[in-house]
Structure formats: structure tokens, C-alpha cells
Symmetry: C2
Subunit: 208 residues, 2 copies
């Protein structure tokens, strides 16, 4: 039996979902439904549900902020965001806050039940387009890297491990001056003027 709680300011949706869950009362038990984050934050820690379906656009505290505050109290809680919004920031903010799933509200009731089952089974239910967004966020742009020579990439790689010039020199068995020379060229190619900026650009563009 999976204990489920709902957080959504739309009364119709709350009641609709509760009915759907009752129709599958052999699997699910809806132990709470709340219209705002404040109430949810008060009640959910006691109720200890297994899964929370969380809207994002709530009056007052947002669903993401609610999730952030909930997670430390209930680390094993699986939260699925259930919302109309699917823009980059909202999705990634949710995942960073600890959401385990992300379903858009146009999903059918059966899809939502599947998502609850899936998240309890250790999965991460997401609407197709959301999943693609998440996956493609890993893909490297991979443009500026072509400009760097192999040796320069090695040096940059070392810098990106937090090493100093001297340590890089030792690691690559070259002199301090040579390291400096490579770094100077790296700066020119990446259009930066410090190790920090070079590391940042590297991380952001996933050059290495």
C-alpha cells in the first residue's frame, strides 16, 4: 500500500485525484490533500506519506520551496512535481530541490498512477519532453574545445582539478615556464584572464 499526499491549490484537481486514488484503494491510500505549502509543511511530516504529488504554482510559498523544506525532514519521501509549467528553470530547480519525478498536468490519471508506482519502484517518472530536456542538458556544446591543442587540454584538465602551476608542471613533467606558456595560450583561446575564469568556462562549456 502506497501512502500518497497531494499539494495543489486547485480544489477540483485535488478531489479528482483523490477519487482516482480511491478507485485503486488496493494499491494507494490518499492520506492528505492540501491547498497550500504552509499547511502541507505542517501536516506532511507527521503523516509520513510515501509519495507527494506537488504542484509548483501555489499561493504563498511555491511548491519548489515547500519541497526544499520537506526533504530534510523526510529524506525517503518521493516527490513528484505535477504542474503545467515545463520551462527549463522550473524543471531544474525542482530536480535540484530533490524532486524524483516531473509530470505535466495534461497527463492522464492512469499516467499519474503509473508515475506513483514507478517512483516507489526506484524510478524517476517524467513526461517525455521533460526527460529529453534533462538528458540533453548533459550534452556538451563542444565548440571551443576544438581550438585547444592536446597539450593545452591536458594543462586545463590539471587546472580543473584545482592544481597550481607548480603541481601541473610536476604532473606533466615540464617546467613551470612551459605551463605558463600553455596557460597563456589557453587564456587567449578561451578569452579569459585568470585560472578561475578558465575553470568556469570549462565547466560551463564542458570543454574537457
Amino acid at each position: 500500500m502506497i501512502k500518497v499526499a497531494l499539494v495543489d491549490d486547485n480544489v477540483d484537481l485535488r478531489e479528482g485525484l483523490q477519487i482516482v486514488l480511491k478507485e485503486h484503494s488496493d494499491e494507494f491510500e490518499c492520506i492528505g490533500a492540501f491547498g497550500d505549502a504552509e499547511t502541507a509543511l505542517k501536516k506532511i511530516p507527521e503523516l509520513k506519506p510515501d509519495v507527494v504529488l506537488m504542484d509548483i504554482n501555489l499561493p504563498g510559498i511555491s511548491g519548489i520551496e515547500c519541497l526544499k523544506q520537506l526533504k530534510p525532514k523526510l529524506p525517503n519521501l518521493d516527490v513528484i512535481m505535477l504542474t503545467v509549467f515545463a520551462d527549463d528553470d522550473t524543471v531544474f530547480d525542482s530536480l535540484c530541490a530533490g524532486a524524483c519525478g516531473y509530470i505535466t498536468k495534461n497527463a492522464s490519471p492512469e499516467k499519474i498512477l503509473d508515475a506513483i508506482r514507478e517512483v516507489r519502484d526506484g524510478g524517476a517518472p517524467m513526461s517525455g519532453r521533460i526527460a529529453r530536456m534533462v538528458v540533453t542538458s548533459f550534452k556538451a556544446p563542444g565548440d571551443a574545445s576544438a581550438q585547444l591543442t592536446d597539450r593545452e587540454k591536458e594543462v586545463l584538465d590539471q587546472l580543473c582539478k584545482g592544481k597550481s602551476y607548480k603541481m601541473v608542471a610536476d604532473a606533466l613533467n615540464i617546467t613551470h615556464d612551459t605551463v605558463r606558456h600553455h596557460i597563456k595560450n589557453i587564456y587567449k583561446k578561451l578569452e579569459v584572464h585568470s585560472v578561475s575564469e578558465a575553470i568556469l568556462k570549462t565547466m560551463k562549456k564542458k570543454i574537457i
Copy 2:
């Protein structure tokens, strides 16, 4: 009609999948099956399939490397990794290389067909545990950050934008020496000894 190509060194698996695809010849057409990356790299660019099912552990060039070389030639190609391995590095390397999906080989034929449909529909089919891995990779550990004071976080934030001490001082309207003081405390708390390391630790642990 979805044009599919297979890359896997296991003959039985290749033939098995080809049979499954033929059983659904109204939807799918298997236009190629290759036992190694080298052959795949030669043939696939001409065949222009819609979807490639790619094994990772191939003789010679790996499936990930094959994917990397394939993507620039066929940017619209959807590649689904189909493999037994599911460790962190392999999964994330695949996604960074441009994979749109990741299925473990214990998946049923029907699941695999679903994955092909899903990926063509703009989704990102993943086995449950893989999806969870990907999603949780966004979650901030958020432990060490608590130690930092508000001001220290502001300073660190500035450093993470590539600014120098002087620029941070200007931005926060404090003196160079005060910036140094904060940074020294940040170093102590993060257990690092340079701006580079501090930035790296911040990025990795998503402290800010």
C-alpha cells in the same frame, strides 16, 4: 515508419532484435545491424536511420566513442544506449556524448520497442533506476554550505563568477582586506587553499 539500426557485438541479440522489429514491420524498419563501431561508423551516415540502438561494450571503439563521432554527422539521430552496464560514469558519459535514452539489457522486447517510439516522440526513454540516477544527480548535497555565513556565501558567489579579490571588494562595497578575511574563512570551512579549489568544490557540491 521508423528506420532503426543496431550496433551490438552479440550476434544473437542482433538477430533477436531484428526479428522483433520485423514482427512490427508496420512501424519499424531495421535498415542495418553491425557488430562493431568501425563498421557502424562507415555505414550509418549513409543509411541515415532515425534511431540507433547502441551497445557500449564493443570490441575496439566503444559505443560511447562511436556515438560521439556519429552525432556531428547526424545531429537529428536519436541514439538509445542498450547495455548491461549501469554505473554512474558510463551513464553520464553516454548522455554527455549525446545519447537520448538508456536502457539496460534486461528490458523486455516490448519495452525496447516502446523506447524507440518514445525517443522518436521527443522523449528520453530510460530504465527506472537510470532515470533516478540522472535526476538525483541534480540534487544538491547541501551540507557544507550551512557552515558558511551569508556574507561568506556572497563572496564565494562573486568568486564563482570569475572575479578577483579587488572586483569582489568593489561589488560588495567592502575593502580588499575584508574580502581576504572572508575568503580565508571560506577556505577553512571548505578545507581548500585556493580560489580554484573553492570554485571547484562549490560547483561540485552545488553549495550556492
